[in-house]
Amino acid sequence: MKTRFPQAYVLNVMADDRPGIVAAVSGVIVALGGNIDACSQTVLGGYFTQILVVSFPQIVEVADLAARIRKSAPPGGALEVAARPYMAPPASAGRGPTERFVITALGRDKPGVIHRFSAYLAGKDINIVDLYWDCAGEDFVLIAQVEIPKRWEMGLLQADLDEIGREEGFNVRVQHENIFVATNQLRLYGGGHR
């Protein structure tokens, strides 16, 4: 990933969700003359979490950067902050060509489902790039956006997941992401994937 300034860092911020957190964090970056190069955040169960890649023209001590952000916390609770230098390329590089798929599972909730499922994916060198889990009453919905190495035969993966689903009592499907792009967005294909 290309950053605006040469000295890049990755930050993680967690807090009780409330107004003002993003303003506080970004305020510290601006004050140090830096730039936010990428950012993703979510709010789950009343908790806020954010991951950022930031860069500065000058070297910044990671401990100092984290301390400044903690100090900027708006009223209503502390900010938990982790910071480290951003190293490119990321660890996921060099895994060979992959394609984006979406795995969905629906069934009766019980402890250990995500572990069983993710342990199987890990064993197949399948990277989870986005994971969503929600329970409505006793039932759960799992949506995992994953990168599957092109060397795998999809029919066999689906058969393995079916087997796990049967044992654990849920329905699971693996489908190429383009079907979701085509049916929801204005373009037919996802970015660069065919």
Partner: protein
């Protein structure tokens, strides 16, 4: 990154509402299989089909699995058999049809269309052989489908051909009497036949097409119906405009599924992608019904006043959504109302709510015609021809495709129940009013001239 709500809504459409790709149809020109000796014709035909189509089923299944969407039917549509049969005889026609039947069976392809004659202005020698052979072909083969184009916007209606088709339908029904006249379910009489239609029984590969093309038919009545019900359950002051919008959005999504799968199948087979046919194609499965959509739109008894307006709105909304989703829309692209193949329509016909005349009115605003309608086996041939002529007139005057797939049930009387099985469903034999009262008109023969609207240049 995809949004969770997008993924969930697609999952619902694909799995809870059973969206499938109804058909991937390989269009294939077989004009290079012509020969003076029929054995050579059959040998070349078989070789070409095995060479071009033997991978179709495997590729469709693999790509269906990749996207989690079944491709229900894999079909073949050839260029008109009449072109191969000029200079041969009825025996040769039968031999060609049996070769087709056998070759597609080997490729595990469900049906093959294109046993076709184009006779809208006149009947050539090859066309005459195709037409004459239909009772034998449709009774002695399993997978061969036939079509005869008897009318066009530019040529008018060939009433000699229409009259012959009236007689032929009875002969085909007799030849397949043990199956209640089922042979007629594999034959469509058309006006303005499309050259790239993927749906059976009327698919054929037109002369304007490349050597081969992949054409797609999507399903969708069940998905449209569920989307409408969900929208209605959300409440609020809904108008028909709001419901048309919902149909349009659903049609967009359904069409996209077809285009995505079609393009990938075509690329993998190394064959040009042709078209997506937007037609809502019902099946006898409960819920997968155009009739059910009309009920959801508030037509309590299908065939009641308002049915024509409802089906017009449905067809138009489907076209608008589909046309935005794909730049390759073709085929028939409307809403099918095949009586036996649609549980709600079959029920309405059985209860007497839906009559032949109302069906005819509905076909004037949607594709595709009087489809899969069982009629009494003693209907006079001139009356069958006159029913065909009426439907052809709707197509010719409105410059649209219309088709007729009538099944005279041998020994069947109005009100009898007949079962055709599988995708063909079951139906109650419909009453034909004023049977025999148009014989003199039909016997005049000749050609009903092309309408004034055909002079467009």
């Amino acid at each position: 990154m995809l949004r969770t709500d997008e993924i969930l809504s697609t999952i619902q459409m694909l799995h809870a509402e059973h969206l499938d790709v109804r058909t991937v149809t390989l269009g294939l020109s077989v004009s290079d299989c012509a020969a003076t000796n029929v054995d050579n014709v059959c040998r070349k035909l078989r070789e070409k089909i095995l060479r071009r189509a033997s991978n179709l089923v495997r590729v469709c299944d693999r790509i269906g699995a990749k996207y989690g969407i079944p491709v229900t039917n894999k079909r073949l549509a050839i260029s008109p058999a009449a072109n191969l049969l000029a200079g041969h005889g009825v025996g040769a026609a039968l031999q060609v049809a049996q070769t087709l039947d056998e070759a597609v069976r080997e490729c595990q392809i469900d049906l093959v269309g294109g046993f076709t004659a184009l006779v809208h202005k006149g009947i050539s020698s090859g066309d005459a052989i195709v037409m004459e052979s239909l009772p034998w072909v449709l009774s002695s083969t399993q997978r061969v489908c036939a079509s005869v184009n008897v009318a066009s916007h530019r040529a008018g209606i060939n009433m000699d051909a229409v009259r012959q088709m009236g007689e032929l339908l009875l002969k085909i029904a007799d030849a397949t009497a043990a199956q209640r006249g089922f042979g007629c379910a594999k034959l469509v009489v058309f006006s303005n036949i499309p050259e790239d239609n993927p749906f059976m029984a009327g698919a054929y590969h037109g002369d304007g097409e490349a050597d081969a093309a992949i054409n797609i038919g999507v399903s969708g009545p069940g998905v449209v119906c569920s989307a409408l019900r969900r929208r209605i359950q959300l409440g609020g002051q809904l108008t028909l405009g709001d419901l048309a919008e919902e149909i349009k959005i659903t049609s967009f999504r359904v069409t996209r599924v077809g285009e995505l799968i079609g393009r990938e199948v075509a690329a993998e087979l190394g064959i040009p992608f042709g078209i997506v046919d937007l037609s809502l194609a019902p099946t006898p499965q409960v819920g997968d019904s155009v009739g059910e959509i009309l009920r959801t739109l508030g037509i309590e008894k299908i065939g009641a006043p308002g049915s024509t307006a409802a089906v017009a709105m449905l067809t138009d909304a489907v076209k608008k959504g589909g046309a935005f989703a794909s730049s390759s829309v073709g085929g028939m692209s409307g809403a099918f109302i095949p009586v036996s193949e649609d549980a709600a329509l079959a029920e309405a016909a059985a209860k007497g709510h839906l009559t032949l005349e109302k069906l005819e009115a509905m076909t004037s605003v949607c594709s595709v015609g009087l489809d899969m309608i069982a009629i009494p086996g003693d209907t006079p041939p001139e009356t069958i021809a006159a029913i065909i002529a009426d439907e052809m007139a709707i197509g010719v005057i409105n410059n649209k495709t219309t088709g007729v797939r009538l099944i005279p049930v041998p020994g069947g009387k109005a009100g009898d129940f007949v079962e055709f099985g599988g995708l063909f469903g079951s139906a109650t034999v419909m009453d034909i009013r004023n049977a025999g009262a148009s014989a003199a008109f039909v016997r005049l023969g000749g050609r009903i001239p092309a309408p004034i609207q055909s002079l467009r240049n």
